[in-house]
């Protein structure tokens, strides 16, 4: 070989295991993607319910982020509020309260979600139930007067029963039209009313491959099927599946809550079954349960089954023919 040229510096060589290249995806990016996908629904909520809605969202996010920072500081852990996961929990929690909810309740709920449901178990990735939903159920049991009954009506200062409560017969009122349900011109909690805005966000997440389509498809499909079969007053197959899909928190839950990575199955088949299970329990509660809406409880209950779904839906291993233990 020819005379050696100036040998470049090789004194900073990193010796690490393969693979030596990594995809650009990070936890932070994923979380912020979900927050971005929630912006249309948040905007619609502010439009329909006014500045009050924005205040509650900010309170939820601030409380969640602050709680995360304080707990991590107290536990002498690295403070990871920049990853967006606490902010996402706070936002989703605010989406689950009506516009006339007191701000302190949202603050306490967000703190509960982060401190009790998430950080007690070790932080991101360790909790077994969805923090926002567990906190919602906590608020519902703690202050039912603020979480049920008559909710503010969009662009108005009066309150009314939610469509699902009317549908169930536990409250009286006129059912809004499909169009109003679709664009969100109905009473309800902040984030759930506009099916359109939520579908835009959900489609964005599926397009960006942030969430698996199986969970929402299984969830919404099961609700549609079962409410069509059992939801009608005039016998089997007289239900109104479209109304059941558009009303209540189904679309919010199916796209943004049931798809929470940490608390849903890790296998594709498991996620489909998870969605179907959520749909089944939702219909059970909506038609025969003690509440007009069952989406959040259905997801919480299915969260408990996740370890088993993971076990039972292991993919087939290449070259292995016998069933796995």
């Amino acid at each position: 070989m020819e005379e050696k040229k100036a040998v470049p510096s090789f004194d900073k060589l990193i010796v690490a295991s393969s693979p030596h290249i990594r995809a650009a995806e990070t936890v932070d990016r994923l979380m912020w993607q979900v927050i971005i996908a929630l912006i249309p629904a948040a905007a619609v909520s502010v439009y329909f319910f006014g500045i009050r809605s924005l205040v509650l969202m900010l309170v939820g996010v601030a409380s969640a982020v602050l709680t995360e920072a304080l707990v991590q500081k107290a536990l002498k852990k690295e403070i990871t509020i920049a990853d967006g996961s606490a902010a996402l929990t706070g936002l989703l929690l605010a989406f689950n309260v009506p516009a006339n909810a007191p701000w302190w309740m949202v603050a306490v709920g967000a703190a509960f979600a982060i401190a009790v449901v998430k950080q007690t178990f070790g932080g991101l990735g360790a909790n077994f139930v969805n923090p926002a939903l567990a906190a919602r159920a906590f608020m519902l049991a703690a202050w039912p007067q603020h979480m049920t009954g008559r909710f503010p009506v969009p662009l108005d200062s009066i309150t009314a029963a939610t469509p699902l409560a009317i549908l169930k017969g536990t409250a009286t009122g006129t059912l809004p039209s499909y169009l109003d349900l679709f664009i969100g011109n109905v009473g309800g909690v902040l984030g759930e009313t506009s099916a359109l805005a939520l579908l835009v966000g959900g489609a964005y997440l599926i397009w960006q491959k942030v969430i698996d389509w199986r969970t929402p498809a299984g969830f919404i499909g099961t609700v549609a099927l079962l409410t069509w079969i059992f939801g009608g007053k005039g016998g089997l197959f007289t239900g109104d599946p479209l109304y059941h899909v558009l009303a209540g928190g189904l679309i919010l839950g199916a796209f943004f809550m049931a798809t929470d990575y940490v608390t849903s199955p890790i296998t594709p088949k498991g996620r489909l079954i998870f969605g179907i299970g959520c749909g089944f329990i939702t219909v059970l509660i909506r038609l025969w349960g003690g509440y007009p809406e069952g989406v959040s409880y259905s997801i919480l209950l299915m969260n408990l089954v996740v370890p088993f779904l993971d076990r039972w839906t292991l993919p087939r291993v290449y070259g292995v023919t016998r069933a796995r233990a």
Partner: protein
């Protein structure tokens, strides 16, 4: 038509554009080579002593063990020592060090016609030529083509997938030497008695596909199979699944699926040995990466130091990693003072920024590793089990079937170091099985 492929896998950026179009050039003859005596199977005993004069192609190391391939001098000159050296695999082994005389004098050799050779003499020729798997594994080829009793090959697959990003050495060989690849494949068919030959090539290498299709136009037993571009398409198990639709049983060998998979470089080396009678003393190496000034595919004598290659190609700026092989499964070298060996398909340099990884975070159970695993494992569970040394659970979840392809770690948004954990668990489980 739907392109054939396998389940799972990932799509890293191919990053091949800097060398894909550059024809193979001969690297300058090295003045000094370091030829490790262990390059495939059991280590060889040296056949030369310090001070001996050697010619190119002269056998300098051999072992009595069946699972071992001989090594040959890659330059002519004088043996100046037999010393322990560091291999690109990270292990240390004794090596014959030769100072070149600059004359490049070869041993006498004559080519053979494939038709004249019986399968047995072909197998002997393969062994004498020192052929090993040149994709990186370096398993002695004469062993690989000898099926265990009661088993046989019905198909031979040439692995032209070259799914590792950056590497283009196989691609260039297929484009430039398609006839020799076909000759090599016919030799594989003859030595194994297999009926069908396939050449699997990812469809992002249309030049290679058309070149080989042309060369194989008259061969009715040989089929060129375009494959979907997806990593790790070039893994033996995934290639067999994609082309033959069969699976290698867990814990088994490709022969259990009736298939022999051969690397393009090995096939080319076999054709060379047939035509010229010369053993394996050089190979094509892709030298590339952002810090490399003139990235190219080089025909390199075995034993050439990586530092010499890098001086030849030129390096700019600070280097963060020197990788022997591709970025997905290659090995990061602690120094550039290691020789190119028979399994070195590429030398990839990364800048400090490229080589610096984000800190590891807790698993968020996103399931991307599950979707990516071409074997159907749950890498993140295995990662947890192996880190907690729960070997029974790791075995129940089939850690021993991991092919260490790195797809899981590539996609992980938490940047978890899945491969070392799984590699450890795999070694532990296999060791425990042997003890039983």
């Amino acid at each position: 038509m739907e392109l054939r492929t396998f389940v799972g896998g990932v799509h890293p950026a191919p990053s091949k554009e800097r060398t894909a179009g550059s024809p193979i050039q001969a690297a300058p003859l090295p003045r000094r080579v370091v030829i490790p005596l262990a390059q495939g199977g059991a280590p060889c005993d040296p056949l030369v002593n310090k001070g001996d004069a050697v010619l190119v192609g002269q056998k300098i190391g051999e072992s009595k063990a069946f699972v071992s391939a001989p090594v040959h001098a890659s330059i002519s000159g004088k043996v100046v020592g037999i010393e322990t050296c560091l291999l690109p695999t990270g292990r240390e082994a004794p090596a014959v060090i030769i100072e070149g005389d600059g004359t490049d004098t070869w041993i006498d050799s004559t080519g053979r016609k494939l038709e004249e050779l019986s399968p047995e003499s072909l197998k002997a020729l393969i062994r004498e030529a020192g052929l090993v798997g040149m994709g990186g594994a370096m398993f002695p080829t004469h062993v690989k083509v000898s099926p265990p009793p009661g088993k046989s090959f019905d198909s031979v697959i040439i692995n032209g997938a070259e799914c590792e990003p950056f590497l283009t050495c196989d691609q260039r060989l297929m484009v430039e030497e398609p006839e020799k690849i076909i000759l090599g494949l016919k030799a594989w068919l003859k030595v194994t008695g297999a009926k069908r030959g396939y050449i699997g090539i990812e469809n992002n290498k249309p030049e290679a596909i058309s070149a080989l299709k042309r060369a194989a136009a008259d061969e009715k037993d040989i089929e060129v199979v375009p494959l979907r571009t997806k990593y790790p398409q070039g893994s033996e198990k995934q290639l067999i699944k994609a082309i033959l639709g069969r699976e290698v049983p867990s814990g088994g060998l490709p022969v259990d699926a009736g298939a022999l998979v051969q690397n393009v470089g090995t096939t080319y080396a076999l054709a060379t040995a047939l035509e010229t009678g010369r053993p394996l003393v050089e190979r094509v190496v892709t030298v590339t990466g952002t810090p490399v000034k003139n990235p190219q595919n080089l025909r390199v004598r075995i034993g050439t130091l990586v530092s010499d290659l890098l001086s030849y190609c030129g390096v700019e700026g600070e280097v963060g990693k020197i990788i022997s092989g591709g970025p997905m499964m290659g090995i990061a070298l602690p120094t550039a003072d290691v020789p190119v060996i028979k399994g070195t398909s590429g030398i990839l340099l990364l800048t400090i920024e490229e080589a610096t990884t984000l800190p590891e975070r807790a698993c968020i159970r996103c399931g991307r590793c599950v979707d990516a695993c071409p074997i159907g494992l749950i890498p993140t569970f295995l990662d947890q089990f192996c880190r907690k040394e729960m070997w029974d659970l790791a075995e129940d979840y089939h850690v021993q079937d991991c092919i260490e392809c790195g797809s899981c770690a590539y996609v992980c948004p938490s940047k978890r170091h899945l491969v070392p954990a799984l590699r450890l668990g795999k070694a532990e489980v296999l060791a425990r099985r042997r003890r039983k």
